[in-house]
Structure formats: structure tokens, C-alpha cells
Amino acid sequence: MSKQQAARRRGVRRTVLVFAAVAVAIYAAFILSGVLSSGVLAGAGAP
């Protein structure tokens, strides 16, 4: 594998990890916003 190919592979791996983490973080953040606003943590869950 040439140096250029290795650099390209590292770049692809880094890009994927960063953006996959962003996607998971957004997913988690929106569910967390739902948890906080529905008051579940304050004990106001469904009857």
C-alpha cells in the first residue's frame, strides 16, 4: 500500500468515525430532550 493510499484510508476512517459519532449524538440528544421535557425523571411518568 502506497503512502498516499494509507493516508487516504486514514482520512476515510477518521471521517466515518467523526460523522457516525455525530449521528449517534444527535439521536441521543433528541431522546434526552424528550426525557427531560416529559418529566419522567421527576417522577411524572404515565399512570
Binding site: 487516504r8 482520512g11 476515510v12 471521517t15 466515518v16 460523522f19 457516525a20 455525530v22 449521528a23 449517534v24 444527535i26 439521536y27 441521543a28 440528544a29 433528541f30 431522546i31 424528550g34 426525557v35 421535557s37 416529559s38 418529566g39 419522567v40 411524572a44 411518568g45 404515565a46 399512570p47
Partner: protein, 550 residues
């Protein structure tokens, strides 16, 4: 003119990379089920999209048959609601989005000089999730309680009143979301890491630019949809109360979260169309694109604005006056970069050496008819007017002008434009023009009268209506029946081209620019395994000070 790709072919027709014939050595199953080739996966996406178009169109014919005359004809009201919901889900997630992803798969590596997508195996996975997602979704027609009937927005509490379809629909939406996110990451990784040396960002073709920005949109909003439907799922099956007012939740919060996804989703379905039209109009105007950099910045501006306007879908739900005024003006702001784009397309054509082959006809129709959808969107952005228009057929007319004469027309333009590159065959221009004019007449018969119906007060998502709406409904239904034959006719045009079409040259269109036109037609199974030498004269856009336009 010898291209640099042709220069890599020796006098015996062998390519220096020695990989071009791999497709012929593969069996059917290996090639199509385990494919890691961007061109094959692009073809799979496009075929899948075509099947979904047929299913979605068949559902819409059912809807329009029911609405052709007042009274109940063919279906019960609850089944009618299933039809409208499934039509939207199938067309949005099954037809329009996969078609654009298919075009991206085919063209982005060719346009940036990459040998393939950055993650070919994930590319295969992204595609093969989709047929299972849609099998699951469509199978809800056959479960007790039928398919989802609460609209594609899946608002609670209506959505949660569904039967077995709720879990199936939510799982299908999750799978579509995972597929889209993986596809978006793949496109971002490809464009950021796989461009040939010398292919600077500001030299990239507009189609690739539009997809790079679209991929960021997808990445930002598909997890939001996934989060929203996950909360729906737990509300339905795990006794949470995210959106249940009785348990302390808020159903309006779902609407905010959904439209935080839903409005950028609209732009996910139109930005690649902007890119396509920005490729085709310069080709058939035989001029460089007017205002390349402005076009890139306009797409980026539209993408940014799409995140801050979501509540214009919810004016009638109720919000503080300040919120209504903010969302109204923020929405209107989108017309500025959109106007820049339309101005630039028209300016590209201005004093060009125009010719009107099928891709150009579809593109010009796109510019004019999408603008109609844009203008009706501006009308809907006005808060007091929206109170009148909301949930009427005016809204139905608006978004069909954006998504059918906008997104779908651009997809058809792209297929005709790049078809010679994909297959090595030209299509029959006369038949393609018949396809265009037939579609143009019937699509306007179908959707334009819906403006009148909406302004007169006809609500959407109803199987029956007052007799005063009868005439325009009949006209609209005639349009729908005429439209239904068009995908079959297009299939015939392409099938006939594949079998008997004239051989296409590498640069199939005289005015075409871009790296994709430097490889032979049909494009070999593997291209750019050795990075190409970028010559400014080959580029579609960017640094065109050095280009050889006369």
C-alpha cells in the same frame, strides 16, 4: 480529442488497470447481491426507486379514482387514509430519496475522479437494507388494522391508535434512517477523501457539491426522525409519556421534533435536483454555468435556513405571536438564495447556443414549475394566509409541484442525461420528447386544479367532498390517470435504447463538461483506478478562466 482515460488504453484495447472486465466474470448473485461496485449499486438504487414509483403511483391512482367524483366509490374512509399515508411514505423514502442516492452512487466517483465510493461494502449494506424496510412497510396492508393511516407525519395520538402496523412502520423507518445515514457518511467520506489530485472543492461539479451538502443535512436530521419514532415506540409499548398529555407529555413536542427533521427533509429531496439542473443547463446552453460560486453558496444557505424554519408547518397548532412572525420571515428568507439559483439558470441560458434535447426540456420545465411550487410556498409562509390554506388541497398542490415537477422531473432529466454514459447507447429522442410533452400536460392537469380546490376550501386527506368541488376533482383525476402511464412509457424508451439505441460517444453531448465525459461510454466497470490528471478544460465548473469556451 483523445481523453486522458483513452490515453491509458493501449492499441489492443486493453486498459492499464486490467480490471474493466470484472463484471463479466461475476455471476448474477455475486454481481448484484454482493456488489461493492458503485455503478452496480447505483443501478440497484435506481431500479428499486423505479419499482417504488410504480407502487406509489398505483396507490395514487387509487386515491384519485376515489376522488374522481363525489361520494364513496371504491374504498372505505379508513382505507383511504391508509392509501394517502402509504403513498407519501413510499414516494418520499422509497422513490425520490433512493433515486437521488442511486444517481450519487453512479456519478460522484466519476465526477471527482475516484475509483469507487470510500466504503464499498457499507454501500452494499445501505442499499440492501431498503428492500427489506419496504417489504416490512408494505406488508402492513395485510396485518389486522391495516397500514398506518395517520399521515406520513405519524403524529401522536392518531398514529398510536394504529394496530400491529405501528411497530412495523417504526422499525421500517428506523431501517430507512440507518440506510440514509450510512449513505450520507459514505458520500461525505468519498468527497472529502477520494477526490483526484487537483480536484479542489471549488472545481467540483455542482451535482457533487449539492450532494455533499445534502449528505450533511441527512446526517443531521435522520437521527432526529429516528429519535422521534423511538419515543413513539416507547409511548406505545413501554408506557412512557413523551407525547401523551395524560402522562405529563406533550403531543405538540412531537410535531416540533418531526418538522425539525421534516423541513430539511424537503431540501434533501430538492438540493440534488438543483445540482442536476446545474449540470444539464450549461451543457445544452453551451456556456459555463453563470455564477458557479454563488450557486454553491446558495445551496449551502438554503441548507442552513432549512434548519430554522420548521414551525411554519405548525402555524395553526398555536404558538406565540413572536414565534409566528419569526418563522414567517425566516421562511421567506429562503426565497433569496432560491431566487439566486433561478436567476443563474436563466442567465446561463441567456444568449447561449441552446438546443432542446430531452434532458434540457425536463430541466427547463423544472425551473418553471418548481418556481410555481416555490411561489405557492411563499403564500403558505404568510401566517394569516396559512390559517386559510392549512390542510387544504392548496398545500397538496404546493408540495406536489415541488416534489413531482421539481424533484422527479430533475431525476428524469438526470436519467436521460447520463443514460448514454451508463449504457453506451443513445435513447430515441422523438420518443423521449413524446414522454416529456405527455407528462407535462398531464402533470399540470393533475396538480394545477388542486390550487383552485384548496383556495375554495377543500380539505386534504378526505375520501369524499362537497359537490361544489366535483369539476376540478374530475380534471385532477384525469391528469392522474394520464400520468400513470408515463413511468411505463419511460421504461419502454430506455429498454428500446438499451437494445437498439445508437452507440454513444465518450462525450455523448457536445457541450458536456466534467470528468465523467472523459471515460468511454458505457463507463467501464472500474474507472479511475489510477487517479486522472485534472485538466481545467475537462471540468464542468470551477476555475473556468482556463476553459476553452469560445
Amino acid at each position: 480529442m483523445a481523453t486522458h482515460y483513452e490515453a491509458a488504453v493501449d492499441t489492443h484495447g486493453h486498459t492499464t488497470d486490467g480490471h474493466d472486465d470484472h463484471a463479466h466474470a461475476q455471476g448474477f448473485v455475486d454481481r448484484w447481491f454482493f456488489s461493492t461496485n458503485h455503478k452496480d449499486i447505483g443501478t440497484l438504487y435506481l431500479l428499486f426507486s423505479f419499482v417504488m414509483v410504480i407502487i406509489g403511483a398505483a396507490i395514487s391512482v387509487g386515491i384519485r379514482a376515489e376522488l374522481a367524483v363525489p361520494g364513496l366509490q371504491f374504498v372505505k374512509p379508513e382505507f383511504f387514509n391508509q392509501l394517502t399515508t402509504m403513498h407519501a411514505l413510499v414516494m418520499i423514502f422509497g422513490a425520490i430519496m433512493p433515486a437521488f442516492v442511486g444517481l450519487a452512487n453512479w456519478m460522484i466517483p466519476l465526477q471527482v475522479g475516484a475509483p469507487d465510493m470510500a466504503l464499498p461494502r457499507m454501500n452494499n449494506w445501505s442499499f440492501w437494507i431498503l428492500p427489506f424496510a419496504f417489504l416490512l412497510l408494505l406488508s402492513t396492508f395485510f396485518v389486522p388494522g391495516g397500514a398506518p393511516a395517520g399521515g406520513w407525519t405519524m403524529y401522536p395520538p392518531l398514529m398510536l391508535q394504529g394496530g400491529a402496523n405501528v411497530a412495523m412502520t417504526i422499525f421500517a423507518v428506523h431501517m430507512m434512517g440507518i440506510s440514509s445515514i450510512m449513505g450520507a457518511i459514505n458520500i461525505i467520506a468519498t468527497v472529502l477523501n477520494m477526490r483526484a489530485p487537483g480536484m479542489d472543492l471549488m472545481k467540483m461539479p455542482l451535482f457533487t457539491w449539492s450532494w455533499l451538502i445534502t449528505a450533511f443535512l441527512l446526517l443531521a436530521v435522520m437521527p432526529v426522525l429516528a429519535g422521534a419514532v423511538t419515543m413513539l415506540l416507547t409511548d406505545k409499548f413501554f408506557a412512557t409519556s413523551f407525547f401523551n398529555a395524560a402522562g405529563g407529555g406533550d403531543p405538540v413536542m412531537y410535531q416540533h421534533i418531526f418538522w425539525f427533521f421534516g423541513h430539511p427533509e424537503v431540501y434533501i429531496m430538492i438540493l440534488p435536483a438543483f445540482g442536476i439542473v446545474s449540470e444539464i443547463i450549461p451543457t445544452f446552453s453551451r456556456k459555463p454555468l453563470f455564477g458557479y460560486q454563488a450557486m454553491v453558496y446558495a445551496i449551502a444557505a438554503i441548507a442552513f435556513l432549512s434548519f430554522i424554519v420548521w414551525a411554519h408547518h405548525m402555524f395553526t397548532v398555536g404558538m406565540p405571536l413572536g414565534g409566528e412572525i419569526y418563522f414567517m420571515f425566516a421562511t421567506m428568507l429562503i426565497s433569496v438564495p432560491t431566487g439566486v439559483k433561478i436567476f443563474n439558470w436563466v442567465s446561463t441560458m441567456w444568449r447561449g447556443s441552446l438546443s432542446f434535447e430531452a434532458p434540457m426540456l425536463w430541466s427547463i420545465a423544472f425551473v418553471i414549475l418548481f418556481a410555481i411550487g416555490g411561489f405557492s410556498g411563499l403564500m403558505l409562509a404568510i401566517v394569516p394566509a396559512d390559517f386559510q390554506y392549512h390542510d387544504t388541497y392548496f398545500v397538496v398542490a404546493h408540495f406536489h409541484y415541488v416534489l413531482v415537477t421539481g424533484a422527479l422531473f430533475a431525476i428524469i432529466a438526470a436519467i436521460y442525461y447520463w443514460w448514454p454514459k451508463w449504457t453506451g447507447r443513445m435513447y430515441n429522442e422523438t420518443l423521449a420528447q413524446v414522454h416529456f410533452w405527455w407528462t407535462l400536460v398531464f402533470v399540470n392537469l393533475l396538480f394545477f386544479p388542486q390550487h383552485f380546490l384548496g383556495l375554495a376550501g377543500m380539505p386534504r386527506r378526505i375520501p369524499d367532498y362537497n359537490v361544489v368541488f366535483a369539476d376540478w376533482n374530475l380534471v385532477s383525476s384525469i391528469g392522474a390517470f394520464g400520468m400513470f402511464v408515463t413511468p411505463f412509457f419511460m421504461f419502454y424508451v430506455l429498454w428500446q435504447s438499451k437494445r437498439n439505441g445508437a452507440l454513444a460517444e465518450a462525450r455523448a453531448w457536445e457541450g458536456a463538461k466534467g470528468l465523467e465525459w472523459t471515460v468511454p461510454s458505457p463507463a467501464p466497470h472500474h474507472t479511475f483506478t489510477t487517479p486522472p490528471v485534472i485538466r481545467d478544460g475537462d471540468l464542468a465548473h470551477g476555475d473556468f478562466a482556463h476553459m476553452d469556451y469560445e
